[in-house]
């Protein structure tokens, strides 16, 4: 399955993350250091689960630190 950074940004915005934050994220850097917080992060992870139909356990989710990590995780699971 194709998973793009732009798709993830859109999912983020639909999950309630401020568009300013979502659009400004650098894909290789930790999300929690770029304006996402403890409310945004789980909302995004759950939205990714729902959108792609993949299960992201809570322990897995906290190991996904960057947008690139999410791309790799979802690509591997949804393949």
């Amino acid at each position: 399955m194709d998973v793009s950074i732009e798709d993830l940004r859109q999912i983020m915005i639909e999950a309630g993350v401020e568009s300013r934050v979502a659009l400004g994220l650098r894909p290789g850097e930790p999300l929690l250091k770029q304006g996402m917080d403890s409310i945004d992060f789980p909302a995004f992870a759950l939205a990714v689960e729902e959108h792609y139909g993949v299960k992201i356990g809570e322990k897995d989710a906290f190991s996904l630190r960057t947008l690139n990590d999410f791309v790799a995780f979802v690509s591997a699971r949804a393949a």
Partner: protein, 352 residues
């Protein structure tokens, strides 16, 4: 049994909670009563202002009556590690519930639990039997609570300036009195009349455009009081120095009633006086006009606050507001404050 005995029993039953276990988010069951009481004690000690939450039987009864709709996060051992709730509070309309009481044991805070509780309320409780609408009052000295609003699909509709005393949030380093943003959503609506002062057209249209309500809106520049006496209830929040007045009908004696309240505010050194006017009645426009003459300014519009109609919120401060310290999440909340601040400044100019 008094509160001291209830707390003693909670303490006696306290056991360490194993972190990292799987949990399920679910509707409250009677067997959760003790766990919920334990949660309130763990988070607040003996300081939670409503003593009923230290009594498992009262928690069960409140859920059975429907006045409180608790959602819990439960381990397979039965231990309650988190909760949130919808509950009936200030609004006279029993169909409008306040959303709050998000409590999570420290061992489970590094998890998705808060969000899962919130989503359960949004997906399973909002719009369910008897829950026509929900609202929240989020503090404005940080953004964490406000950030729940878009995820709950609530819309900012009111801003209560300087509502809470600084001391209530000392642990969170509040500087000065704390304002609260009201955000609401209505799931079960019906067509209602809505009488509003013409001077608030821009602000009210801004609030209404995001609430998806079925309203017959009348903006009036002048209105007569309702015939007969004013129908009003007042409640003093002593610890906060706030008097909240709920006006069902602003009648011919409304001006006299207001004079009495103004005297009470001065004598009691209140910080804030609020008026919630039932805007399904044309007397609300009259009432707002009288309040404006006395230095009150706009607070917002809270949908279905009254069983018959929405509430036009007016407020007056006896402390200096610190608008610069108010932190707001999202453009709509900031635009709402723009309308309210402009009206405050006009009110201040009229008074000087």
């Amino acid at each position: 049994m008094d509160k001291a005995e209830a707390v003693r029993r909670i303490r006696a039953a306290m056991r360490p909670v194993e972190p990292g276990r799987d949990y399920a988010v679910d509707f409250f069951r009677p067997e959760d009563g003790s766990g919920v009481a334990r949660l309130f004690y763990t988070i607040y000690g003996e300081d939670y202002p409503v003593a009923d939450y230290y009594f498992p039987d009262r928690i069960i009864k409140a859920n059975e009556s429907g006045d409180v709709r608790t959602v819990v996060a439960r381990l397979d051992t039965g231990e309650v590690v988190g909760q949130t709730a919808l509950y009936r509070g200030s609004p006279p309309n029993p169909g409008l519930f306040e959303f709050g009481q998000m409590l999570i044991l420290p061992e489970y805070r590094h998890s998705f639990l808060a969000l899962r509780l919130m989503l359960f309320v949004k997906d399973r409780l909002a719009g369910s039997e008897g829950v026509d609408g929900i609202f929240g009052e989020a503090v404005c000295h940080h953004l964490v609570t406000q950030k729940m609003s878009p995820k709950m699909r609530t819309s900012p509709c009111g801003l209560e300036i300087a509502l809470m005393p600084e001391g209530a949030y000392a642990k969170e380093r509040a500087a000065g009195r704390v304002s609260c943003l009201i955000a609401a959503r209505v799931d079960c609506d019906r067509r209602r009349e809505l009488f509003l002062p013409g001077c608030y057209r821009d602000a009210m249209e801004f609030v209404l455009e995001d609430l998806s309500l079925d309203r017959e809106v009348v903006f009036a520049t002048d209105a007569a009081p309702a015939s007969g006496e004013t129908s009003m209830d007042t409640k003093l929040f002593d610890f906060a120095g706030v008097l909240r007045c709920q006006v069902n009908e602003a009648g011919e004696d409304f001006r006299d009633k207001l004079e009495a309240i103004e005297r009470r505010a001065a004598e009691s050194k209140l910080a804030v006086v609020q008026f919630f006017l039932d805007a399904a009645r044309s007397g609300a426009v009259y009432g707002a006009g009288v309040l404006r003459e006395k230095g009150y300014f706009l607070g917002g519009l809270v949908p279905i606050w009254f069983a018959r109609g929405d509430a036009l919120l007016m407020q007056k401060l006896h402390v200096a507001p610190e608008f610069e310290a108010i932190r707001l999440f999202g453009e709509r909340a900031q635009a709402l404050m723009g309308h309210i601040r402009a009206d405050y400044e006009q009110a201040a100019a009229r008074s000087s």
